[in-house]
Amino acid sequence: MNPIKNASRREFLKLAGVGSGALVLGTVMPGWAPAWAESKTAESLSEMNLFVSIGSDDQVHIICHRSEMGQGIRTGLPQVVADELMADWNKVNVIQGLANEAYGSQNTDGSRSVRRFYQTMREMGAMARTMLEQAAAQQWKVSQDEVQARDHQVWHTASDRHLSYGELAEKAATLSAPEKDALVYKSKADFSYIGKDVAIVDLEDMLSGNTEFGIDIQMPDMLYASIERAPVLGANIDSVDDTQAKKVSGVVDVITMPQFSLPAAFKPLAGVAVLASNTWAATQGRKKLKISWTDSEHASHDSAKYLDTLKQRVQNRGKVIRSIGDAYTGMMNAVQTHSASYSLPYLIHAPMEPPAATAVFKDGLMEIWACTQTPQSTQSTVAQILELEKDQVKVNVTLLGGGFGRKSKPDFSVEAALLAKQTGKPVKVTWSREDEIQHGYYHAISAQYYEAGMDDTGRVTSWLQRTAFPSISWTFDGKTDAPSDGELSLGFGDLPFALDNLSCETQTAEGHIRIGWVRSVSNIQHGFAIGSFVDELADKLGREPRQMWLELLGSDRHVDPEPEGFKYGNYGDPKEKFPIDTARLKKVLNLVADKANVEQQTAANEAWGISVHRSFVSYTAVATKVRVKEGKLKVLEMHCAIDAGTIVNPDRVRSQMEGSMIFGLSLAMLGEISVEEGAVKQSNFHDYPILRMHQSPPISVYIVESDAPPGGVGEPGVPPVAASLANAIFRASGKRIRDLPVNKHLEV
């Protein structure tokens, strides 16, 4: 990828959304223009590169090409650019980038915004700074080594002259961009913003309600759509009676959505849209629809029965995906063995803002505003389904009221685009909470089996693990009937233990509802099972849990599953740059265990549980303290240590860890989507609860100081949570919970 490019001024403005529809939006509510659209352009705006532009008014405009969903990326990436640029943060304006391949990937998932773009952002800043220095040197007719950029100005110390960035921008922009190799970077000691707690750029707007999320888009003449979708995947519309719906005051139109065949992919579900002059009228009209649906092969899907099937399958030998020695012989030779099975139900994202998208089709251009994690696949999917060229689809990214993977799927934007094309009007499609819970892309239901064999010293010599869950790939190809290598790379095939014998196996699992990514993906079930099983072994062998982990992790080394037959994905990053490092796992484990003092005596009915996990090339350990009394669980305290390599904004890393603890507790304590007759049973927060304040413990976060390249932050906090909780419950009560959620076993 070579994102370094001198975009033309017009292109920059176009990319930036300056002077485009984004500004028009702000005019609907005078004084309520969204901050991200409000780039007051100076008389002249000079672009240094694809990401940086400087106005004659001294304002530096930095494009954030990734989606903001609470992780703070609209602050983090510009922080890196501004640091290398030596810009004054108070004169920095962040502009949200439109869908554009020139930026590189904009798919904001997989915890990789900083991981993948840290270096690029430094280049962008350093490049612009170098060009400004060159421009000053030329103007003063001095050599370039005599001038230095500092505090939003370029200085010639010898003659005590200085010029502001705004004064230099126009000239600088005419210079050719310096070679990448010639760029000089700041040293860590000189960082002004990287590694500092910079407040998020959207903070003031969030405090005043002056934000623009996908659901907030307003346009003159806009129609509000609410869509009744097929309750069962693959069901189509048999007949629709919309007579009563059309009588509801405010309802303007009822439109049957086009029906697409399976596989589901990113295609919208079959449905009937009610369009009205406001959201309420649309939902009232929708209630009056009479729709009969065709049958579907998935109408017999029952998640409880299916989970039993998966649990049985993992008792049997499966397809080996990684092996060391011979685990079966190892088990036979073992002095003692221990085995356990674990299961998790389907889960759904439940971001506080449900999916929402607005589209306008005008003069052959489809313009979309959406809370999307992935503007580029929104663009390509809309183009493909509506038979448009990609450059006929313009995608504006709003703020996202949480994403967690749901908004990586562009189906809701496609719905808005289809309706906008058909009506010729701006259409906003708002998903209700019920829609979000019942028609999502679910975290896979799963079952796992673990067995360990020990020698007469209590050393674990043999390890067997099997996993079965419907694959995300099935959503896209309709065929895959076992976990994919990509999913097995998430905390299963990368087991970092020192073992003489190992067998990692999969069992088959076919899909019946749309399966998708949910924050940390298959690490959720694998982190839970492995983290629980280690604790079970510790109990069986009479070790402290920390000791058990350290024994299994073995010596400090880099683990490479490839020679053992597993095609390990390593989160898309090279293993040389981001090896599986047992020393880093042990470090976070020891840090959290020491800080929480987990081995100290606790009060009756109270106990600590720990777990540690590597995901998204970062390392996280969690200690959770609980009280279990009279069948009631109270989470008292959590400690979390993360080693994510180089950190850009420690405060946002802490907030992501706090959020991950709570997200992890939510799914472990309360999360369950069940399916009967092919349809999701839950519908809103009364039956799909998420953690509330009174259930949420105090949380302490420790960040490991590291110069390693940046790892992921948004997801790695989640995987160890469920195991640390279940382990704490066991130690407080003797009750081992192997089937989540906890609220099936204890009052929470």
Binding site: L207, G209, T211, P351, M352, I662
Partner: protein, 154 residues
């Protein structure tokens, strides 16, 4: 025609009497600071004040506001200077920000009725406001800071 006071000004709206106040604010008056999260009084995203009390606007028909006074996040202060907003800023509370209008409006109502809430009182009052991003620890801390600013001892 329904008339009420909105953030201190007289407001008249043409809307169905049963339309929830939430949708009147958002779709009729184009004030989108108040958010939708569940539509059934389960999440608190839509919290506004009706005659000073925190209510869930998603289940409150606009007719219930007739002749009364409604305050929303947009009216809390001119310049985000309300002590609760200040405390939120000090603790960098928001993540995605979506639930925060509702959280702030609930927190203001809590402190109006109880200037020195302890942890249990905060839990009790705030448990109706969901935050999927998990900002609860910071919300709790910020409420205590705000209480201090507003003259309570907490």
């Amino acid at each position: 025609m329904i008339e009420f006071t909105l953030n201190g000004k007289v407001q008249k709206v043409e809307a169905d009497a049963d339309m929830p106040l939430l949708w009147v604010l958002r779709d009729v008056l184009h004030m989108t600071g108040t958010k939708y999260g569940c539509g059934m009084a389960m999440c608190g995203a839509c919290t506004v004040h009706l005659d000073g009390d925190a209510i869930r606007s998603c289940t409150t028909p606009v007719s219930a506001a007739a002749g009364k006074s409604v305050s929303t996040i947009e009216g809390l202060s001119e310049d985000t200077s309300h002590p609760v907003q200040q405390a939120w800023r000090e603790h960098n509370v928001p993540q995605c920000g979506y639930c925060q209008s509702g959280q702030i409006m609930s927190a203001v109502a809590l402190l109006d009725s109880n200037p020195e809430p302890d942890d249990a009182a905060i839990d009790e009052f705030m448990q109706g406001n969901l935050c999927r991003c998990g900002t609860y620890p910071r919300i709790k801390a910020a409420i205590k800071t705000a209480a201090g600013k507003m003259g309570g001892k907490a």
